[in-house]
């Protein structure tokens, strides 16, 4: 009898203690020592928090100021990203759509939201694979936008992928600053918050678009994006660590059917888009760079193959050259 009571008390005590531990876990993460846990925290924070912040973004000798407002209201995420310098450009995201208002491109791009809006369920497993191709380590404490920040370094073990440094909010885990290093170890992209305010609930007006889309071309993915049908393409040889995460066919604006394959090594991701060759596609340039994103294009069997991802251009090219039609 006695041991029974004792053990049930013990159980209660254990539960109680775990509750305290859990409460501490939510309020501050000083006790986290594992850099992988920091990455999980970062991923959570990107979706969970309510905030309004300004940051600078630097790449290829261009510097730009931007503002971001993110809200999560009972699990419903909304986000607004706005350029504060240079041409006015704005991206609005909610659980159903992404709208990019790009007046200087004379375009509004609207697409349906995809699975990245949901938190990756298998994150610990992803981080496990990550360790095969990257070294992850803690670096010195730092300060960003007046907040204490925990810095982690992610260094690739080969030259097929980029390296990262992330500065995360000490209490909340939010990504406050990031640097991306190319295969030579040079910084190619940087982002740093300069001001940040957290909210319990984000005021509605902060989430409303302020760009007027007058005189623009509205470029919209078809309402029913997914297309049933056979998948026609595959990639015969992939750089180490990259696995197929998604394979789908969908309709893009102009009623063009596109096959989309997405590969990831747990951190970097690369998309391959294959669409039938059209007249206007023939003049296009081979290879472009958008910040850290490299693209590679080639014509193959009356199709245009476009590879796009935050990987070195050689990796993008390797993947692009290995695209094959399924016989």
């Amino acid at each position: 009898m006695r041991p029974g009571i004792f053990s049930s008390h013990g159980l209660l005590l254990a539960l109680f203690l775990s509750q305290i531990a859990w409460a501490e876990d939510v309020s501050g993460f000083e006790d986290i020592s594992n850099p992988q846990q920091w990455l999980e925290r970062m991923s959570e924070a990107a979706h969970q928090l309510n905030y309004d912040g300004t940051f600078v973004y630097f790449h290829d000798g261009h510097m730009q100021a931007m503002r971001i407002v993110h809200s999560n209201n009972d699990g419903v995420e909304r986000e607004r990203l706005l350029s504060l310098s240079g041409p006015v450009r704005e991206v609005l995201r909610d659980s159903e759509r992404v709208i990019c208002i790009l007046p200087d491109d004379n375009a509004v791009v609207e697409e349906n939201a995809g699975p990245s809006r949901r938190r990756p369920l298998n994150l610990p497993a992803r981080l496990e694979t990550l360790l095969q191709y990257y070294d992850i380590s803690d670096a010195d404490m730092d300060r960003v936008a007046g907040h204490n920040a925990h810095k982690i370094l992610i260094t690739p073990k080969d030259d097929q992928r980029y390296g990262h440094a992330f500065w995360l909010h000490q209490q909340k885990g939010l990504l406050l600053r990031s640097e991306l290093y190319n295969e030579e170890g040079r910084v190619v992209e940087q982002l740093m918050f300069t001001g940040l305010k957290f909210y319990e609930q984000v005021p509605e007006e902060l989430l409303a678009a302020e760009t007027h889309g007058r005189d623009v071309i509205w470029q919209r993915g078809a309402p029913k994006m997914a297309v049933q049908g056979t998948k026609n393409w595959w990639v015969s040889q992939l750089p180490a660590g990259f696995v197929l995460e998604n394979h789908r066919r969908h309709v893009m604006s102009g009623n063009i059917q596109v096959e989309h394959l997405l590969f990831s090594d747990g951190l970097a991701s690369v998309s391959v888009f294959i669409e039938p060759m059209s007249a206007q596609q023939q003049d296009l340039v081979d290879s472009l760079r958008l910040g850290a994103v490299n693209t590679y294009r080639r014509h193959y069997l009356d199709h245009v193959i476009t590879v796009m991802g935050e990987v070195p251009s050689r990796t993008a090219q390797r993947i692009g050259e290995a695209v094959q039609r399924i016989e």
Partner: protein, 191 residues
């Protein structure tokens, strides 16, 4: 009253007002910044509805509207006191600004994968000393210069849509929050 004005603005966008209503609404519009903003929003909504058109056709529509505006000055002229000419000027001004701001995306040639981006201009495209690999494709652009901005626009359009799809389906993009979209917002400055 407010709802009535809303309806009238909406009717104005749809071109469904009769003459007396039209002059009344235009009069209101001239003095009321709120209404002007509303008018722009309704116009955007109307654009959205037309967005179901294939992109190239929407672009044609845009051009046709501009052309017919240019060809019908006599209709606008007698109503000098109404804000129409000012609004028309604004619209044309925005269109000109948009067309002047022809975007060249950063181009990295395969042979020189260095960090320096090259902005494509007609002058550079005409330069004879391009690497052999890009030569053929550059020549095809050079042979029809007017297509440069058009093909750039088409390419930007495609890349923007691709980039959104890439971001939306990549779980690692989900990990990094807004960072993937920063590249779309910023891509406009890389010219």
């Amino acid at each position: 009253m407010k709802n009535h004005v809303d309806e009238q603005i909406s009717a104005l966008v749809d071109d469904e007002l009769n003459r007396p209503e039209l002059s009344l609404v235009l009069h209101e519009l001239r003095d009321n910044a709120d209404l002007q903003a509303r008018w722009r929003r309704y116009q955007l909504i109307s654009d959205t509805m037309r967005g179901h058109l294939v992109t190239t056709r929407a672009s044609d529509l845009h051009r046709r509207v501009q052309q017919s505006l240019a060809q019908e000055p006599t209709i606008l002229a007698p109503r000098r006191k109404t804000p129409w000419p000012a609004l028309a000027k604004q619209a044309v001004g925005a269109a000109i600004a948009a067309s002047v701001a022809v975007v060249a995306i950063l181009v990295v040639q395969q042979e020189s994968i260095e960090t320096d981006g090259v902005t494509v201009t007609t002058a550079q495209l005409a330069k004879p000393s391009q690497p052999a690999r890009t030569m053929a494709q550059l020549a095809s652009i050079t042979s029809k210069p007017p297509a440069i901005s058009k093909s750039n626009a088409a390419q930007r359009e495609r890349l923007n849509a691709y980039l959104v799809n890439h971001n939306e389906y990549s779980a690692s993009s989900g990990m990094q929050g807004a960072l993937p979209y920063v590249r779309i917002v910023s891509h406009g400055t890389a010219r």
